[in-house]
């Protein structure tokens, strides 16, 4: 066999690793989750109880699904005006100037801060702030977690939006200006309609990032296993319950945690695929 054939075979075999890992992830998660689903059925997903007492164990994923969705969506809502303004600043108003690269680099720094450092800062700075403002007794809860999440996902939302906005052709903008439009009018009548799908996709991907975030949320959400009843109530997300309880879990509890991992995997996968689909379809 020629050496070229050998090389090609080797490359092909290594490429199979992607398949193996992907399939393996799904397989292991399902296999690990099976005991939980066998015991509780599909109702596991909508069961609102988490009771690890021996002999009467009942596990359900609902509080955590709720916690994940609420914090992530709230984070996206908080992040939207900030990220959108920053995109407009960098990609339109102050495009190609010194200050926009400074701002852009600062925003990129936000992406570099490790999650646990965000959690620490949130714990030592945001939490007392929440207490001082009288918004919450202990400072933990949905709002605090969403706030820190919002800060963490801003760089993801802005970097993609920036590129999309920069790609709107100059000619379209000039045509609008030549008709007497103000800058604001050009932004809303030309830039946004032409960049709409890309901007939406970037926020969906930011949402996907928020869904999977673990450490910062774990440290700020308050660790209570119930569906949060208010903005400043405590709760848990899928990621945080796993982080908190996986270490000493075994048996049915372990399986329930793996099942939650499977659900998290599925939700994140769906959201990310939606974002990528929108990009592909409309660009």
């Amino acid at each position: 066999m020629s050496s070229d054939k050998v090389t090609k075979r080797i490359l092909f075999s290594v490429s199979l690793i992607i398949l193996i890992i992907s399939a393996g992830i799904v397989f292991s998660l399902v296999k690990g989750a099976l005991p939980a689903f066998n015991t509780f059925g599909l109702k596991f997903i909508i069961t609102n109880e988490w009771n690890p007492t021996e002999g009467r164990e009942v596990y359900g994923a609902l509080p955590f699904i709720a916690g994940t969705l609420i914090t992530s969506i709230l984070a996206l809502i908080i992040c939207l005006p900030l990220a959108f303004s920053t995109s407009l600043f960098v990609a339109e108003y102050f495009r190609n100037t010194r200050i926009s690269s400074v701002l852009s680099s600062l925003v990129d720094l936000l992406a570099g801060i490790p999650s646990i450092v965000y959690g620490l800062w949130g714990f030592y700075v945001l939490r007392p702030l929440m207490i001082n403002l009288g918004l919450s007794d202990q400072g933990f809860g949905i709002f605090t977690s969403s706030l820190i999440l919002a800060i963490m996902i801003i760089p993801f939302a802005t970097s993609m939006s920036n590129e999309i906005i920069l790609m709107v052709p100059d000619e379209l903008k000039e045509a609008a200006y030549s008709l007497g439009a103000t800058r604001l009018e050009v932004i809303f009548n030309v830039i946004i309609p032409n960049a709409r799908s890309g901007i939406i996709a970037s926020y969906i991907l930011a949402l996907g990032r928020a869904l999977g975030e673990t450490m910062a949320v774990t440290m700020l959400i308050g660790n209570s296993n119930s569906i949060p009843s208010g903005l400043f109530d405590t709760g848990n997300t899928m990621a945080s319950i796993i982080a908190n309880q996986f270490g000493e879990a075994s048996g049915l509890k372990l399986s329930a945690l793996i099942a939650i991992g499977l659900i998290l995997f599925a939700i994140t996968g769906l959201v990310n695929s939606l974002g990528k689909f929108i990009i592909r379809k409309f660009s």
Partner: protein, 260 residues
């Protein structure tokens, strides 16, 4: 060098000592003085880089979109200094058509024609809107071709049709002056001819300033011509005279193809 056309009373545009620099010391346009005849076609010609587009864009202050540009001198529109008007007002009186047709892709044909009104936040009654669209499209001889597809997006139109749509969009405001920056350079000869005929027709209602790198186009349709070279207005006169009797050797060199 300055050269004013004689016998222009009530020129719609007057340029006085206009100089524009992109960087300190580097002038794209130097000491331009000219009066533009109303309701006529004035062509601006010259080799690449001579400043003709820069000059054109000065008339609707489009070059202010880009930072670091310094402008000296004055331009008067109907005896008003254009720098004392708001750009919004100016751009309603001075419309522009660009080199590559650029209808707004997210709007349909109807919306494109009245885009100017929409962008300026002007609300018109349905009847008025329909009239404007129909008149503008008829004035660019596009009405018959698109009247049944007004609500489709303009992307299915040919290059020539798209450019006529852009002209319709610019004249929907009924401006005083229409600026065209090499409007046919991206089009095929048949479309080019149609647009040239259109411009000749439009000049009875609008003053037209046309930048072109195509001398024969200038010869065919313009009443007056400016020849620019390295930022200076070298010669300016009635097209017929300029082409047959250029006064400056540079003009002659360009017209006879010695350079350009």
């Amino acid at each position: 060098m300055t050269e004013s056309l004689d016998n222009i009373d009530h020129p719609v545009l007057k340029v006085r000592d206009l100089s524009i620099a992109y960087e300190a010391g580097k002038y794209a346009v130097k000491d331009i003085n000219a009066d533009i005849e109303s309701k006529a076609i004035t062509a601006i010609m010259g080799p690449s880089g001579c400043g003709k587009s820069t000059l054109l864009r000065a008339f609707n202050r489009m070059h202010e979109l880009y930072p670091n540009i310094k402008t000296e001198g004055t331009i008067y529109l109907n005896d008003n200094d254009i720098r004392e008007m708001s750009t919004i007002e100016l751009r309603r009186r001075v419309g522009m058509v660009f080199q590559r047709p650029n209808p707004f892709p997210t709007m349909n044909i109807y919306e494109n024609v009245i885009a100017g009104y929409k962008l300026n936040g002007i609300r018109l009654k349905r009847g008025e809107r329909d009239d404007i669209v129909e008149n503008s499209l008829k004035n660019v001889t596009l009405w018959d071709e698109v009247k049944d597809s007004l609500f489709k997006k303009g992307t299915f139109l040919s290059g020539g049709q798209q450019q006529r749509l852009c002209i319709a969009r610019a004249i929907a405001f009924n401006p005083d002056v229409l600026l065209l920056d090499e409007p046919t350079s991206a089009l095929d000869p048949v479309s080019t001819a149609r647009i040239e005929d259109l411009l000749v027709d439009l000049k009875k209602d609008y003053t037209i300033l046309l930048v072109t790198h195509n001398m024969s186009q200038a010869a065919r349709i313009s009443d007056n011509s400016m020849f620019m070279y390295l930022g200076e207005l070298v010669e300016y006169g009635k097209t017929d005279y300029m082409f047959t009797n250029p006064k400056d050797s540079r003009t002659e060199g360009y017209l006879t193809g010695k350079f350009g």
